[in-house]
């Protein structure tokens, strides 16, 4: 959070189908969105890890959680 998300704007623009511009303000908002998503992802993964009685988050935890979260983040 203290660092900028490197190349976020480019990423979005690259993935956008058509031509699109991004304002600096909306760029900040994009960072916010990604941070929120990561936060919730981390949280869910942490919960999942707890369920597995593991203090460490592993990839399988994240994978289990990701689908649900991606669906939620569909907007």
């Amino acid at each position: 959070m203290l660092n900028k998300v490197p190349g976020l704007k480019k990423t979005i623009r690259a993935r956008a189908k058509g031509h699109i511009n991004i304002r600096p303000t909306s760029e900040a908002m994009l960072e916010l969105v990604t941070l929120l998503f990561l936060n919730s992802l981390a949280e869910e993964a942490k919960t999942r890890a707890f369920e597995d009685k593991s203090a460490t988050i592993r990839s399988n935890h994240i994978r289990d959680v990701s689908k649900k979260l991606l669906k939620k983040a569909r907007g």
């Binding site: 969105v33 990604t34 929120l36 919960t47 991606l70």
Partner: protein, 931 residues
Amino acid sequence: MDNTEDLSARFILGQILSTEIPRTPMIPSGSTQAPSSSGTRRSSRISGRDAGAQTPTDIVRHSMRRRISQSITQKSQPAPRRTAPFVRRKPRSSASMLFDDEQSPRILLKNILMTENVKSPLVHEKTPSGEPEPPLASSSTTNTHHSIELSDLDLSDLTVGNVISTAKGLNRKRPRRSLNVTAFEKRLRGADAEAEERSNEASSDISSLSLSSSTSLSLKTPFVDVGTERKGLQRKVSQRRKITEEEFGAAVDKQQITGGTRFLPGKQDLSDTTHCEGFTLGLSKLSEPDVTTDILHCNTALYPQPDAITSDLSVMATQDKLTVAASQIQKDLEEREESMRESEEELNKVQSQAEEEGDVPDDVSQRENEAVSRSEEEVIVSGINAEEEEGTADSEAQENIEAEVVVFDFQEEVVESESQEEVVVFESQEEVVVFESQEEVFESDSQEEVVESESQQEVVESESQQEVVESESQEEVVESESQEEVVESESQEEVVESESQEEVVESESQEEVVESESQEEVVESESQAEVVESESQEEVVESESQEEVVESESQAEVVESESQEEVVESESQEEVVESESQEEAVAASDSDEDEDASQTSNKESSSFHPEPDHRADPESVADGEEHVDKAEHPSEDYPTDFKPRATMDSSSQFEEDGITSGSNKDDGKTERQRSERLDSNLELISRRSCQSEGALVVPIVQEEDLDKAREGLSEVKSKDLGSNLEMEGDENMVEPSNPEQSDASDTEDEEYPTEFSPEEEEDEEDISSKTPAFVRAKRNFFIPDPSDSPTVFKDNQASGTTQAVPAAKPKRARQVKKRSTARKALPKSYLMTVFRHFAKTKVASDVYPVLDEIMDKFFDRLADDLETYAAHAKRTTIDVEDVVLLLKRQGYVNDKVPVEVLIEKYLRMDQRRLLIPIATSGNVVIPKIRK
């Protein structure tokens, strides 16, 4: 009494009183004189009535008067107020004195009343003029009045005192006290109020007495002692508790907290401060309540059930085979060693499983390839088991190879092999497990075994898509199995047609076939190995040779295995080897070439996985690896294509090496297939290549593919189209296996580990969808010999391999291609740091690929949504409101949580300043001069 006499007495009295001076220091002694004088007067008056004044009534009157006058004189001590009435009094007093003797109660009362009041003398002045009789009534009143006055005067002291005392009680005024310094000081000190009060009271009592005594003359200061004040009205400030700011804040917070939203325990501090601000910064950004509290209270109903998760897993698995393959490759390499040991165990299982699975794989529609590969794997596995003699390593390797191949094909099988989670997810998860073992084998030097296993697998695959079995067996190999599986599946597909192979696979015949095939493959693999060693595995020639080898798998398993090992090692394309071996196995298993091809392709695809890990070891691979390696390599190269052919080819190679899973019958076919597949794998996804003719070249090609696959599946995929053409030109494109392979490849693609960059995934999918045409077209060229195609190496990296056909620089070429599409959205360092920060618990480093993939998907969706929103607003610029709308729809922003809260929480200051117009951004003593 006689009224007349009374009247007369009254009259006389009244006259006297009115006339006499109110305050006449009449001495009782002088009363005689007075009476006499008064008497004389009275007598004069009376004489008017009666000359004889000594009538008994007169005497009484006189006595009465005397008494009265005496009383009057006694009371009226004060200074003579009136002089005028003084004169009058005399006669009255005399009269009163006369009556003193016999003072009737009435007269006494009058006197008393009169003495009490010290009134104005006006009354006195008036009365004297009044006539005696008529004004009696009035005079009586006045007399009383006067008497009061007189009495007042007389009884000044007592009455005053009494009056004052009574007045005190009645007086509502605060007791006036003189300034009690001590009390005042005490009060100032703020000593205990009560004590002070008591003391004050005590002192005040004393003082009050003194004061009261001198009330009239005392200074009336408004000061009131504390003690005297009514306690109820006293303000006991000293007892008040001083609330510190902290306490206040805490209390406020508590109130707000209890009444406000819940907060994560870890963020209480923030919440406290924010509470003060009135914000509900509680982490209710999501509609769901606190996660941690839920965790604590075990209220995780919101969270997905494990079943759902697993289902999700499977879905994910089906997403991108390429990614899976890629990841698998990585994993394969890592875990091969581990799986090595496991493979042995699994081999045993596989056999049993193969039997079981033989019945399972019915859903071949999509998974023909998979099945094929699986069957191949099974074959291989079984072959492995059977060929344990040759060396568990070999079998394992084979398994691995097959697994890899199968992986491509098998999308939704149980991901038993954790190492190949990706693989499993995609393809045959169960098989993946097997693949793991296979993968391990790959990495191990005992690729011979792998080849053997693959050959076995191929056989299996060829028979039935009891790939599950294979997959299981391949669990060991799983690591690199993905490709193997793919190859196997592909090869299996081909083999399936031949049907019998599956059974063979399961049965011991697999062994035979494998052996037979392996022999063939061995031969081929040998040649292939050489090729592999030269790193030119990518070359069609190599693949061809590999295919050939694959075909001959059954013959010289050992040999083949050796060669395969070399092949595998050459490019560290264990996957390729696997695929090749798978192909071989498929071929050896008498399974249809297709199956073999699929297997090999699977193998290749599976082998593709380890490719990334061992890209630069073609030589090393060649050294110790068998043809399987070759097969695998091409399969690796074909990860993009994930063609079953490749797996087939590879599997065939494996078979050659030693899988010989009863594919002897179809040795020719499988091997050819394998070879073809190998070639095709190079071009196409390993799967497809597998489906190819199963030329031995496939293994080699697969190897190449594997290498390429490592670099980037996406690239491979992208190249698949082109490479397919090229690759398939070789042999791998087995027509009959084409559809299977294509399917397998498609499935493989989907199955590929989601870990692959979504770009790759996308590309893979796209390519896979496109490749069928090419594949089919190309496959037509190739000889659709199912038996020959066991060595189909998946052209997973067909695209890559095509470019790298030079083989000299497969990796670099692949890299160049893939880099463009494989760009990650977020750098690893940033992503991991942020994730760790949010997670607040330990995070394993292996989450990065998963994370990356997730983020890619997320960004895709994000861009898509935002673009849609902007377009809806007829704008070409993404605006803040668009993002806000997105947040609302996602549920991060709702009535309780406004956007600003989130902004404040997550963003840096510079960003916040952008978003929230701040009137005064902090106190700046020296204001910045903004230009």
